[in-house]
């Protein structure tokens, strides 16, 4: 295995290739770290999905508030 040249590094066209290139230079741990970080980003929500989450939270908050009101007395 030969080390990539600087020109090759500048011409990487994908994250995977970049991660691999970085890993070749810094070690296998770097590849694992980059892949882990991108996995941790999670799936991007659409605006509609984000709103569905908030609507479900809102419904539960309303039920919980009613319960707290009943228990607050006075």
């Amino acid at each position: 295995m030969r080390l990539p040249t600087e020109a090759e590094i500048r011409n990487v066209s994908s994250v995977t290739q970049l991660a691999i290139t970085t890993g070749i230079i810094l070690g296998k741990q770097a590849i694992a770290l980059v892949k882990y970080l991108f996995k941790q980003r999670g799936v991007m929500l659409t605006n509609a999905q984000a709103d569905e989450i908030t609507k479900a939270v809102l419904a539960k908050d309303e039920v919980r508030k009613a319960l707290a009101d009943a228990e607050a007395g006075g």
Binding site: L37, L58, D69
Partner: protein, 164 residues
Amino acid sequence: MKRLRIYAAIVLAVLLVAACGSLPAKQRAVLGNQAAGQAIWALQDAERRICNPAVFDKDPTIPITECTGPTASAAGLTTAKHQEFAKTLSTAYGLRIRLDNLLLQWQPGAPEPSELKGLQDQANGILTIARSLAMTERQKELVALAELLMAEVQKIAATIRGAR
């Protein structure tokens, strides 16, 4: 070779920053709000279970109006204190409901909702009550949940402020 290592280290650092901050602000605020909701719901259940485990275990949806039993006594959780806790939670939920509705319309760059400050104050009030109870394992559980709620509310505030 040294220059290549420095370059690769810089690339790795950029990837690290990009990975951490890449979630859109609204998504982070929504997920943070969901996490704060889970914390406050768990906190409410934990306090109610200490207050009256018999009623809670029978049906957790039934309002608990009286604290009885050895666990309540051991924690120093009286009926009056439970009512005070419930009143603070009710105020917090009122603010959360307004924040939930605002999040449905909020876009990064919009002014920070004033409800956030009120919610932080209420979360602090809940934490104060939890800490005032007798030092038992149950009280520690309440304090841990209240601290989690505080942390999640502060994360929402930081996300929304950071997106302006």
